[in-house]
């Protein structure tokens, strides 16, 4: 049975924890709003980009000289897995859900006899993957210094991926991130970026079937736009991830705050009981002492 003093200390420490988790929750809520706004603001660009790309991709499909970024290298032996996670923990299952999906995928690919290379974005994913797939990690992008994710960051990642692709280091690239669905639900998602897959249903429904002139030629535009398309997809993923991270942290911290509250209640009851027991014991001692006389 813990003493009164121990209980008092326990309560004080849990109260402190509650203050911290409460503060973290509120910070996450504020950051979540900003992250959501950023994701919202980036949507028009990504949507239009996808629409144009889908149109272009459909028109060169099947052509012999289709760019490799679109048509692929004709092989899928070497797979690049890009795992995007957060730089910080304390955000519930956010990091582990991405890593779990990536891990399953890597294992499946390896079982098919493919070579897998892993590029990590964000410290947490790297830490978790290093244990099982340390020898597969080829590069790491550190975003811990970045306060607000900008297009530059996405471009940097895209460039390093594209450089490897041009050097023939891999055939297929897939990015793993958490799609933001709501504050309580983030969906781990795998998206293949190279060779690019554009959904033809995204193509603009012009109705009258507008035929565009291309200046310069269709192929040149495509060659110019495909790398941008990769950067845009990565940018979207980064923003979704940022919003998801804050959402997950907010939920996790909300739960932690509530748990701390419950614990304080339980401890307070125990403290009061113990105090009561001590008083009762003393009374019994006095009374039995008086009776003995």
């Amino acid at each position: 049975m813990p003493s009164l003093k121990d209980l008092k200390n326990r309560i004080a420490s849990v109260k402190n924890t509650r203050k911290i988790t409460k503060a973290m929750q509120m910070v996450a809520a504020a950051k979540l709003r900003r992250a959501q706004e950023a994701a919202e603001a980036a949507r028009p660009y990504a949507e239009r980009m996808n629409a144009v790309m889908a149109g272009l991709a459909a028109s060169v499909k099947g052509a012999d000289n289709a760019p490799r970024l679109l048509a692929g290298t004709g092989s899928d032996k070497v797979q690049l897995v890009v795992v995007m996670t957060a730089e910080r923990g304390l955000c519930g299952g956010f990091n582990s859900s991405i890593v779990r999906l990536a891990r399953q995928r890597i294992a499946a690919l390896q079982a098919e006899g493919k070579t897998v290379k892993v590029l990590t974005v964000g410290k947490k994913g790297r830490e978790q993957l290093r244990r099982d797939f340390g020898n597969l990690l080829i590069d790491h992008v550190d975003l811990s210094e970045v306060r607000r994710i900008g297009y530059d960051n996405a471009q940097g990642i895209a460039r390093s991926i594209l450089k490897r692709f041009d050097a023939g280091e891999f055939d297929v690239a897939t990015i793993f991130y958490n799609r933001f669905e709501s504050v309580i639900s983030q969906v781990p998602t795998a998206l293949q970026v190279i060779p690019a897959k554009y959904d033809e249903s995204d193509a603009p429904e012009t109705g009258e079937n507008t035929v565009y002139d291309y200046e310069p030629s269709e192929e040149e535009i495509l060659a110019d736009l495909l790398p941008r398309g990769v950067a845009t997809q990565i940018f979207t993923a980064l923003l979704e991830n940022a919003a998801s991270e804050q959402g997950a942290r907010m939920t996790a911290m909300d739960n932690a705050t509530r748990n701390a509250g419950d614990m304080i209640d339980r401890l307070t009851i125990e403290y009061n009981r113990t105090r009561q027991a001590a008083i009762t014991k003393e009374l019994i001692e006095i009374i039995s002492g008086a009776e003995a006389l």
């Binding site: 980036a42 297009y151 012009t206 507008t210 035929v211 565009y212 200046e215 310069p216 941008r228």
Partner: protein
């Protein structure tokens, strides 16, 4: 006067969206001016100044890279980077120039020419601001 829907978006946000009577675009193959009823065209951009003539007068933007999608009723410009000309101070231009130069240095031999042209275009732009 007839107008067309003009949208200028960069990856990070939407910079402008209004009805314009004419838009001057710095196309990769030369400048062009899009007016309502323009033939549908998709063109890539070179770094330059984009001017949109709307109801509230002319608005100018510095754009680098990206593309424009023009049809008879609307024009969407998707620029890699876009800055309203009023905000384009020397420092921003220097930043752009710096970026173009570092890109030119890192470029593969076969892309060298294009990268050099980019640097040149940005330098021209810098001189004009």
């Amino acid at each position: 006067m007839a107008t067309m829907q003009f949208d200028l978006v960069s990856p990070e946000r939407m910079l402008a969206s209004f009805e314009a009577t004419a838009v001057e675009v710095p196309g990769a193959e030369g400048d062009l001016e899009a007016m309502p009823g323009h033939e549908p065209v998709i063109t890539t951009l070179r770094p330059g100044v984009l001017r949109a003539h709307g109801a509230e007068g002319r608005k100018s933007f510095i754009v680098t890279g990206g593309f424009a999608q023009i049809n008879g009723t609307s024009i969407s410009v998707l620029a890699e980077r876009a800055v309203a000309i009023e905000e384009a101070t020397g420092t921003i231009m220097d930043e752009l120039l710096e970026e173009a130069r570092s890109l030119a240095e890192a470029a593969l031999p076969e892309d060298k020419d294009a990268a050099q042209k980019l640097v040149h275009d940005v330098e021209m732009l810098r001189a004009r601001v």
